[in-house]
Subunit: 212 residues, 2 copies
């Protein structure tokens, strides 16, 4: 498979960095093709703004939805956005590797959602091209995340044992584009992880990745 | 009251910009003191990283929780973070004005949560200083947001009619600090809003603000 890893953590030596490296190694060993976006490392632009668009339909007033539709039609997204879109187009599976900060993904990864999973590229709600008709249909997505707190302390964020529905606001956003969200991989109580727990987690992740 | 408005939208002419201006005018007329952080306008740094800390406890490996605790003890947060913390210290009520992008607040506002509502400043989970013992106890927070979609299309984000619990992941994050989250103000179907609906919404918001 072609697998695109979107990785978001400021510290290469972090648990998230280690899990990202483990994924690259394991997936390559299993014959997959890999592309990575290291959002901190590449200094991915962290705000949706006018610079996202090479030309604007209405320069008098930035309306993000209007300009994303226009940029999709006229191929006028900024270079960094286009590069991410090309990786998505190439991928069969997208893996998101990130820590939970304040109940959800880091701001920088949220910026990737806002800027790259754009109107007209990932979906078109005006024409009903969402969910089962979203433009990313046929591709899969997987969340791989770490949390300092225990699983039990999550309220309204993690529900039940359906691992494809961990972090429902994020899963919902991905499903909106037509992506099929497969079971997540999560490390809880990572504050920090004991050496033994780390070993167990790495083993579980490696097993999961080998079965993709 | 001392009221701190945290406003996040890239376009001053947006509905969010108009609601922010309406709040400033109405609250001033009602005798309140106002401070504003216009996150896009002030080019607020949109990523938590090493530059958040004037000195680091462990420069070898950035662990955000550790460094936030350390910066709280040693008064070594970056200048822009300190300025936001001072506004919070001054405020009786914090109003957040933002659009819903992909189910939740914009990335730039999320960055404000991550960088400013820091460990050791807003709460200390290691010492049980969270929720009713959080460091921001005694202050209030209010969400004021706009959404392109209808209220009914929100899934797992808006629950029931408890307006203090709109957008539960965000409300929960604020409550974690001890803030009392009061009823939210929301404008749905803003895609865009008809002139008549806008007039109705502005009237409702003005009334709500006048009763604070």
């Amino acid at each position: 498979m072609n697998i695109f890893i979107v990785y978001c953590h400021p510290e290469p030596k972090s648990l998230n960095g280690t899990l990202k490296n483990l994924a690259v190694k394991t997936l390559k060993e299993n014959g997959h093709q890999i592309k990575i976006s290291d959002l901190y490392g590449m200094k991915f632009k962290a705000t949706l703004d006018r610079d996202d668009f090479l030309q604007m339909e209405n320069p008098e007033r930035l309306m993000p939805v209007i300009e994303q539709f226009n940029a999709s039609k006229t191929n006028s997204f900024a270079r960094d956005i286009k590069e991410e879109m090309e990786k998505i187009g190439w991928a069969d599976l997208i893996i998101f590797q990130f820590p939970i900060w304040y109940e959800t993904m880091p701001a920088l990864l949220k910026a990737w959602f806002e800027r790259v999973l754009a109107h007209g590229f990932a979906h078109n709600m005006l024409e009903g091209k969402i969910i089962q008709n979203g433009f990313l249909k046929g591709k899969k997505a997987m969340l791989s995340f770490t949390a300092g707190s225990a699983k039990e302390t999550f309220y309204n964020v993690i529900e039940g044992e359906d691992k494809s529905n961990l972090l429902p606001p994020i899963s919902k956003a991905l499903r909106f584009t037509g992506l099929e969200v497969i079971d997540a991989f999560a490390v809880f109580d990572a504050m920090p992880l004991s050496e033994e727990d780390a070993k167990t987690s790495f083993g579980e992740y490696k097993k999961l990745l080998s079965e993709l």
